[in-house]
Amino acid sequence: MISQDHLPLHYYLILSALLFAVGLAGALTRRNAILVLVGIELMLNAANLNFIAFWRYNPNPDSLIGIMFVIFSIAVAAAEAAVGLALIIRIYRHYHTINLDKMDSLKG
């Protein structure tokens, strides 16, 4: 790849910030628990995009920290999604709803 092919770093950072904000907005406003989880996934991906962008623009060519970070982050996100969705299914069985506003007691 040739360096002139690339846009300045802040394009990616702003895109990542936008995605983060969209995910945050969704997670804060939707009532459905699954969508809150989706919003969180979006935020995670925005963060990952940041890592890749910083890795690419790192002047040290041998460093792979950004890539490694994203690989581990993807794995953790997969685990998080599995456990989170399992919890949601469990909650649905108990409350017969996944509306977050209706789930506010600490005791079942």
Binding site: L9, H10, R90
Partner: protein, 193 residues
């Protein structure tokens, strides 16, 4: 061909952002999930464009092949596949939007005020899978093991959490049966006649 990169970036960005917004705002949960898949594919495309091919393919394999499917399953299992009942937003949605905008504002301010803002990438070769593998097996071997453990724990945990109560009873240890009286033991001396 330096003109291709901005065009491709613009297309991918537009697709990603629009589908992300759609994923967060549509009424049908299934549509949201599908839009999320598009967003994730867009992010994978960005990775590819940035030269991180391995991560890009891994993103597709994990997110579209697994996480999106998982979300779809969760939607169907919680009977949310029909349109959401109105209102779809929580009562304080305005506060939420405001906070999101505030966060974006802070981030944008930070990005633009940073000295890194206009930096261009150095010329460097894309890392081969072999390099990544070597690093994973040398410098990052401990995190790798930990991640393996975490994924195992998460898989088992998810199964146990989502297990039906009736079947989870089977996991409990059976009640301890008292040892039967030793009536069958062979006496050394015969009972008195």
């Amino acid at each position: 061909m330096s003109h291709i990169t901005p065009i491709a970036f613009a297309i991918i960005t537009a697709l990603t952002l629009v589908s992300a917004i759609a994923a967060m705002s549509l009424r049908h949960l299934v549509h949201c999930a599908l839009c999320l898949a598009v967003t994730l594919a867009g992010i994978a495309a960005l990775y590819l464009q940035l030269g991180a091919a391995f991560v890009g393919w891994a993103q597709i394999l994990v997110y579209i092949g697994a996480v999106a499917i998982l979300i779809v399953f969760a939607i169907l299992l919680t009977r949310s596949s029909e349109a959401e009942p109105r209102p779809i937003l929580s009562p304080y949605w305005g506060v939420g939007i405001a906070i999101a905008v505030l966060v974006f504002g802070v981030l944008a301010k930070a990005i633009f005020s940073s000295s890194l803002a206009g930096r261009l990438p150095p010329e460097k070769a894309d890392p081969t899978v072999r390099e990544i593998g070597n690093q994973l097996m040398t410098g990052y071997v401990l995190p790798l093991e930990v991640i393996g453990l975490l994924l195992t724990a998460a898989a088992i945990g998810a199964v146990i959490i989502a297990m039906k109560d009736s079947t989870s009873g089977r996991l409990a240890s059976p009640p301890i049966v008292p040892e039967p009286a030793q009536k069958n033991a062979r006496p050394e001396t015969p009972p008195a006649h």
